[in-house]
Amino acid sequence: MGFFLETLIGGLMAGMLYSLVALGFVLIYKASGVFNFAQGAMVLFAALAMARFGEWVPLYTGITSPLAANLIAFALAAGVMFLVAWVVEYLVLRHLVNQEGTTLLMATLGITYFLDGLGQTIFGSDIYKIDVGMPKEPLMAFQSMFEGGLLISQEDLVAAVIAAALVAALSIFFQKTSTGRALRAVADDHQAAQSIGIPLNRIWVIVWCVAGVVALVAGMIWGSKLGVQFSLSTVALRALPVVILGGLTSVPGAIIGGLIIGVGEKLSEVFLGPYVGGGIEIWFAYVLALGFLLFRPQGLFGEKIIDRV
């Protein structure tokens, strides 16, 4: 029982991290109808920026306090992501308005390659560390309830709290601010939003900026967990089933989808894996999402897909 719960909690934590990446997908898809394949590349790019600025800031400015250095590095990395968002909008999206979904998807695949190459050219392609002071040692909990207690990774716990905070902040941003309202209007109907005077281009820049910051947070957490390296960009592929499961248009869907996938992956790996030779995490998530899709094609929380002829 204790072991099962441990796996379950580990899965929930991992799921939180998946939903963080998935959130980036959902934000951009909602606001611009673009399925942003480059989210994984953005995570890598942001994490590389964060890691290298974290090295460079103490080196060149002489700031020794790790907190201040990390804050400055975070701000600089966020600035880089804003720049990326602006360039993407200015050079790519603006020219592809009214193109089909597949064309836009391919364009973001192109951006993926571009960012992967550019990030590693600017920031280097070794394995870097992000040290933002995440607690590394695991925590023992519920020792009175189970024999031996439950082993919970503090790092995961902090990450989950950060992710939850980010989601809360985003939902306040979407519900309460006028920019957030404009974003939702654009998501509902491009033309209607434009006709009441909402500037589409600016909204797209903003939403890519927000997705960039989400990528930065995701990159920071994943990076401090696993180290920053090229394989980080594959977290996008891990997060895809999450979006599909939760629905492309739903923020709560991304969260709950992430949790389901995280738990499903861990439980399947631990309890099913040994019988079939292990390593089934990745495709299990996809098959799980596929199973859901067959019964609810729009995902758990997606808007119902209506065809007009």
Partner: protein, 358 residues
């Protein structure tokens, strides 16, 4: 002046329904095939065969298959790499386990098994569309990656997990030197290209296109979506499977599942989009572009570097390749979203009026 159909009168339905109704097209294609069979071998050396020609032939066969599914039937697939892998490993198992099975039969059996897997993973397409389907086909990709890596039976229990074949021969003729391999692949490509070209203008091809353009409307006028979609998956994965078997047997010789990873699927999709969706010609253009581009970048960049006096390292080269590749894709999509095939047809249209455009 030379390219126009004036004066070519059709006197029978057969003449009107030829694959290439315009005589110049017909002779042009025949000439091209003749050149590929007889003139290219006079010019090419071993490097050109290995690095450009053989990959180009096999990948354009695969792109042809993907184009049938994505371009003609409108079902986005990111699992093409998996179908290639299924073709390769099924062909391998037939080749190794069945004593004396001819090479061509093994390759085709690879295609047959890819068809079965393709139909199975095509079933979600009856329920989901577009991006959701793209992700659903990724399930095929990751499942196959895993299966061929972990299940030892598929690789004939080889200790390293690598499958390899050698001493290929067809009807007593060896397929070992690059020249022989080139001819072998070319024959496959010509046969399959002709079949595909015919298929997409037949009743079933028109059904695919109707489904692509609007599936609800198509089913209203009496096209069975299930039959049309699954048949597109079947035909496409058969061709892709055969291409996968060729890639493994003829191009690689010995291979691991990583040869058919998700990157391969993306590459094939790029070929189709850049070449032109829903165009047989486009598959060839796309494959040529994607095969040649990295080679050109690898040649040109160090040259440019030496002119400015910068030593370009291998890592920098890889990254520069990614940057240029990504930028070119985006640029292409902006400038010509309908692909290279569109440029080709615009060119032909211009040629018809040349030298007296109105």
């Amino acid at each position: 002046m030379f390219y126009r159909e004036n004066g070519q009168f059709k006197t029978s339905y057969n003449a009107d329904q030829q694959i290439f109704p315009i005589a110049q097209d017909r002779w042009g294609v025949l000439l091209l095939v003749a050149l590929a069979f007889f003139a290219v071998p006079l010019l090419a050396d071993e490097y050109v065969y290995r690095a450009i020609l053989i990959p180009f032939l096999i990948l354009s066969l695969a792109a042809l298959g993907v184009n049938i599914l994505v371009g003609y039937c409108g079902q986005i697939s990111l699992g093409s790499g998996a179908f290639m892998a299924v073709g390769a490993y099924a062909a391998y198992n037939f080749f190794v386990r069945v004593e004396g099975l001819p090479l061509i039969v093994s390759l085709l059996m690879g295609g047959v098994f890819a068809t079965i897997v393709g139909i199975f993973f095509g079933i979600p397409s009856l329920r989901v569309k577009g991006l959701y389907l793209a992700v659903a086909t990724l399930a095929a990709q990751f499942f196959c990656d895993w299966a061929f890596l972990r299940i030892k039976w598929f690789t004939n229990d080889s200790a390293s997990g690598t499958a390899s074949v050698s001493d290929l021969s067809v009807l007593g003729l060896p397929v070992q030197t690059p020249f022989q391999k080139y001819l072998f692949c070319l024959s496959f490509l010509v046969v399959f290209g002709l079949l595909a070209k015919n298929l997409v203008r037949s009743a079933i091809g028109r059904e695919w296109m109707a489904i692509r353009d609007m599936d609800v409307a198509a089913s209203v006028i009496g096209i069975r979506p299930m039959y049309a979609k699954l048949s597109a998956f079947a035909v496409s994965s058969f061709i892709v499977g055969v291409a996968g078997a060729l890639w493994a047997f003829v191009h690689l010789g010995s291979w691991e599942p990583a040869a058919f990873s998700v990157d391969r699927s993306f590459q094939l999709l790029f070929m189709v989009i850049l070449g032109g969706m829903g165009s047989i010609m486009g598959s060839f253009f796309g494959a040529a572009f994607i095969v040649v581009l990295p080679i050109v970048i690898n040649l040109v960049l160090p040259l440019l570097g030496s002119i400015v006096g910068i030593e370009v390292s291998t890592a920098a080269l890889t990254h520069a390749e990614q940057i240029i590749f990504g930028a070119l894709i985006v640029w292409f999509l902006i400038v010509e979203p309908h692909g290279l095939a569109k440029l080709w047809s615009v060119g032909k249209q211009k040629l018809r009026l040349w030298p007296f455009p109105h």
